[in-house]
């Protein structure tokens, strides 16, 4: 039940980080209760229990242990099939875990069960019964614990289905039991032979990861494909036993379950501590969760499925970061495919899981393949007075199959853009992604627009903002991961968007955000991260100094714009004066020349004005964009630091727990020692998980920064060349104007 909470998908996938933390708490509490529960039955000395268990293990138990969880997967699977509502899935999961826990800890019952029901087909069924019993035994507790969870979800209907479902599952279980039993009869030797160690777990995790990633891709297009795909990695890792299974038409989930169980088996073999079984189970369950979740995706509506898919990616914290990154790269473009036409699968196909260098190249190709162009046009003022707002036309042109149409247009207001950013940054920020930031809210500028003065500064403002929004959206859709986000698609496609509320500059939510930012800043100052990675240290410094330089440059360019506008204005007034002087002049030729000069100056005024616009839109705005983007880069560094902090906290916590254990050992309090050991195991798992989280975030940040820099280089060059070309043109015009004037001047006589 400890893990049950963990697999509960948070209501918002983006807030997953927070939720994980929450889950940890819940988990901690849960495990405590578990201890209480199991503490009473196992009144016998711990050592005794240990020995019995080990002995079991040495004899035959792996299969038994596996058998137990084996049933749960079945039940979960069977439930999955009939029940299409996500709530059921969650419920199952909760149920499962409780059973696992029960099976693992209740050593007495456990052994009994093992003794009676090994290897038999019907054993499964019986065991299913047993598990149900077990659940019933603890039904109060389970209910008690799952209830708050269900409330959290607000999706669950009631706890009653738990038992019902497990009851339902029985026929199906018996049906599928056959291959499974084969599996398990084969499996134990393998498990023993392999000496499942932590390395084994890792390997398994990787495979698991690939499964999960691959899954959303395959669920829809073809079931068979999926199977074959799954067969492969499994074979690699588990060798013959699984290879045998893979030939059989076993539904994928069972296989995964079997994998899980193997890990659980690995635990006792390795350490022969009941606590370890626990921890292993805990460690492995998330993966199960994600699989189940993603499985359910196929059943669910498109959008939900996508959210879950994204979440699955996120929850896959057990993967080694490198592998995961690779997989992510593959999975990302393919993630939406289940929701759209199967043709999309072909798009993802040509990308083999390659080396990092290859990957970069691929990504560039990918970008080219991202045949999507977003434009923001026709700013239009809607409403009057202070309630007025600007609406922009967002047109998308794409050949990507994930969109229903090739071209579509929606109207969006500024806060919608901000809302999109909020969603994206909450979802992807903690994972180390650099989410392109939109232009800032500008009370002053907007107030001017609202007041309705049709002067140049407000049209300038609107045009600037429009350009910034367009570039912002273009950046979002050019990002391989962000494009896949359902919110992005919704933003581009959906006619009506729910009003983004939290973006109001002075609203309550805004205030909360401000407080959050303040606390963030404080914690940033207090966190002293002793950077282990030189690369990050250097990059951070680079980013910071670049930020400073860009800011300075921006101020300078802005001042150039101001002066250029001034120049344009003054040139205009001089042109007028020159014309007047020309009219006052009584020498005809000179008078003519002077009015020609006035004309030239008039044209110069135009040129200066265009140049000022060029300065603003091509140069200053680019720099402003980069100032914003550099902020986002720093944000991703901060997220990395947070992940690091969490890991460190967990480590110090583990340290404390170990100290407590040592104390208890010294004080010779065996009953509490058990609890301490379990806690240590739990925190050990957390530490590994957080460490991997951190590594994953680090890897993502690194990748993203490299991507950012590549984009920056490309974009900067393009923009500056464009800017210089504008300058070039204006110089050409200038030459033309003066060349026309020269004969006039010479004609003065």
């Amino acid at each position: 039940m400890a893990t049950s909470s963990e697999r509960s998908p948070p209501p918002f996938p983006d807030s997953e980080d927070q939720d994980v933390l929450d889950t940890e708490e819940v988990r901690g509490r849960d495990s405590d209760e578990d201890e209480d529960l199991f503490g009473s039955p196992s009144t016998s000395p711990v050592t005794g229990m240990d020995t019995t268990l080990t002995s079991d293990v040495s004899m035959k138990p792996p299969s038994d242990i596996m058998n137990d969880p084996l049933i749960e997967p079945m039940s979960s699977q069977t439930e999955n099939k009939p029940a299409s509502e996500p709530s059921d899935d969650f419920f199952d999961l909760t149920n499962n875990v409780s059973v696992v826990a029960a099976a693992a800890t209740k050593s007495d019952d456990f052994v009994d069960i093992l003794g009676s029901e090994t290897g038999a087909q019907r054993g499964e069924v019986v065991k299913a019964d047993v598990t149900v019993e077990a659940t019933i035994d603890k039904s109060e507790v389970t209910a008690g614990i799952t209830d708050p969870l269900s409330q959290q979800e607000a999706k669950q209907t009631s706890t009653a289905p738990v038992i019902d479902l497990s009851g339902d599952s029985q026929p199906v279980t018996s049906k599928i039991a056959n291959p499974l039993v084969d599996l398990f009869s084969d499996a134990p030797p393998a498990a023993e032979a392999k000496k499942p160690s932590s390395a084994n777990v890792d390997l398994f995790d990787d495979e698991e990861g690939s499964d999960i990633f691959a899954e959303p891709l395959q669920t829809k297009p073809a079931k068979q494909l999926q199977k074959s795909l799954f067969g492969e990695p499994d074979e690699d890792v588990f060798g013959e036993p699984l290879g045998a299974i893979s030939k059989k038409p076993v539904p994928k989930e069972q296989k995964e379950k079997s994998v899980t169980t193997k890990v659980t088996a690995g635990g006792p073999l390795q350490d022969s501590k009941p606590a370890n079984i626990f921890s292993q189970a805990a460690a492995s369950t998330p993966s199960v969760t994600s699989t189940v979740n993603s499985k359910s995706n196929g059943v669910h509506s498109e959008e939900e499925g996508d959210i879950f898919a994204a979440e699955a990616t996120v929850e896959l914290s057990l993967d080694s970061p490198r592998n995961e990154r690779k997989k992510e790269a593959i999975a990302k473009p393919s993630a939406p495919t289940p929701t759209s036409l199967p043709a999309a699968a072909s798009l993802t196909k040509p990308q083999p899981p390659a080396l990092e260098e290859l990957e970069e190249e691929e990504e560039e190709e990918e970008e080219d393949k991202f045949d999507i162009f977003v434009s923001v046009k026709d700013p239009e003022k809607i409403g009057d007075g202070m309630n007025a707002y600007m609406a922009y036309k967002v047109s998308t042109q794409t050949t990507l199959p994930m969109f229903r149409n090739k071209t579509f247009t929606v109207r969006r207001r500024f806060s919608d853009f901000l809302g999109l950013y909020e969603k994206l940054s909450e979802k992807h920020g903690p994972n180390g992604f650099i989410v392109p930031p939109p232009p800032e809210k500008s009370l002053l500028g907007m107030t001017k627009v609202k007041v309705g003065k049709e002067d140049s500064s407000s049209t300038d403002f609107v045009e600037r903002r429009r350009g910034a929004l367009e570039r912002y959206l273009q950046r979002v859709v050019n990002h391989p991961s962000l494009l896949q986000d359902p919110d992005v698609r919704e933003f581009l496609e959906r006619e009506e968007l729910p009003r983004a509320v939290s973006t109001q500059a002075l609203s309550g939510a805004g205030f909360l955000k401000m407080i959050n930012k303040a606390t963030d800043a404080v914690s940033k100052m207090t966190i002293k991260m002793n950077e282990s990675d030189v690369w990050f240290e250097e990059k951070l410094q680079e980013v910071e100094s670049a930020d400073q330089q860009f800011r300075k440059l921006h101020a300078l360019v802005e001042s150039l714009v101001v002066h250029r506008k001034e120049l344009s204005l003054n040139t205009a007034s001089f042109a007028k004066s020159a014309a007047m002087l020309g009219s006052a002049e009584d020498n005809t030729a000179l008078s003519r020349a002077l009015s020609q000069l006035a004309e030239v100056e008039d044209k110069m005024e135009q040129l200066h004005q265009e140049q000022a616009a060029n300065d603003t839109f091509t140069f200053a705005e680019m720099i402003a964009d980069y100032i914003r983007l550099l902020g986002a880069v720093r944000g991703s560094f901060d997220h990395r630091m947070k992940a690091w902090q969490r890991w460190q906290d967990a480590q110090s916590m583990l340290q404390k727990k170990r100290e407590t254990e040592a104390k208890l050992l010294w004080a010779n309090k065996p009953d509490k020692l058990q609890l301490a050991k379990e806690e240590i195991a739990e925190w050990e798992a957390k530490v590994t998980q957080y460490e991997r989280d951190f590594e994953r975030v680090s890897a993502t940040v690194r990748k993203e920064v490299i991507r950012f820099e590549r984009e920056k280089t490309k974009n900067c060059k393009r923009q500056i060349i464009k800017y210089l070309e504008c300058l070039l043109q204006s110089q050409q015009q200038l030459i033309k104007y003066w060349e026309a004037f020269l004969p006039e001047a010479k004609a003065i006589a």
């Binding site: 680079e542 100094s545 670049a546 330089q549 860009f550 300075k552 440059l553 300078l556 360019v557 001042s559 150039l560 002066h563 250029r564 001034e566 120049l567 204005l569 003054n570 040139t571 007034s573 001089f574 007028k576 004066s577 020159a578 007047m580 002087l581 006052a584 002049e585 009584d586 020498n587 030729a589 000179l590 020349a593 002077l594 000069l597 820099e709 920056k712 280089t713 900067c716 060059k717 393009r718 500056i720 060349i721 210089l724 070309e725 300058l727 070039l728 110089q731 050409q732 200038l734 030459i735 003066w738 060349e739 004037f741 020269l742 001047a745 010479k746 003065i748 006589a749």
Partner: protein, 372 residues
Amino acid sequence: MMQEGLDDGPDFLSEEDRGSTLPNFKQNEFSVVRQHEEFIWLHDSFVENEEYAGYIIPPAPPRPDFDASREKLQKLGEGEGSMTKEEFTKMKQELEAEYLAIFKKTVAMHEVFLCRVAAHPVLRKDLNFHVFLEYNQDLSVRGKNKKEKLEDFFKNVVKSADGVLVAGVKDVDDFFEHEKTFLLEYHNRVKDASAKSDRMIRSHKNAADDINRIASSLYTLGTQDSTDLCKFFLKVSELFEKTRKIEARIAADEDLKLADLLKYYLRESQAAKDLLYRRSRALVDYENANKALDKARAKNRDVLQAETSQQLCCHKFEKISESAKQELIDFKTRRVAAFRKNLVELAELELKHAKGNLQLLQGCLGILKGNT
């Protein structure tokens, strides 16, 4: 004939070098050091000389304005600590260039004054002028004291009030009537144009300074790293550094060829107006003398005195009218020639700079595009 050259020392002393073939100079070539105040003295001596009432007195060169530059220099010294080394050197260079430009301008204006005097058939024979040119010691002219300044001020007020009065008098001569209206209009126009051109050029200079700072900012960006982009930034910085030089030159040339021209004709037209005022004054005096003579004759009292005074006024007026006509025609010729020269030069310089800019941009773009 006479050529004049001017060198300026750091304390606005003007040094004249000239070769002269005119017989009334003692030597063929000589040089003296003169201060701005001495130029003013020479000008004032012309203005005060009744003999020259019929001529357009060449306008005195304007007082050099180094105050702004000095102030900036001081600020630079104070802000030395808060700036990076590059910024400081840049600022210093900027200031030095500005200082030098003002200097050259000042020298040029003083030179123009002397050239004008030397080119004038009557004024060049002036004794004071000769003293100014030849006396190789300090003329020990002092600046006007407060009392004199106040007197000058009142004189000016009276003159302008009188000018309004006198201007109302209908001229019998169509030529002068036309010149009067023209000069009034022209003076106002040229005043306006001069002010506007100054502003235009100032903002042009500001823009050039901005480009300069952008260049140095890009330079710092470019030196942070040795990535591709940084090299790119360095190239762009180099380009901006060059273009800003050109832009600054454009501003300086516009200043020299356009603003200074306008400023000069602002003063020259004022001088021409002054001439017309003197003529009108003489005319009014003449008419008054006529009336006084009529009155005297009617009363048969002091007729002789009135007659001489009337004849004096008549003579003065006729003398002024005679020379003024030629002077005004000359003024126009000079003006047209000066405008032609300066406008042609301006256009040529603008073209030169624009082409230079174009070439720079093309070259830089070629390199940058080759890079990408």
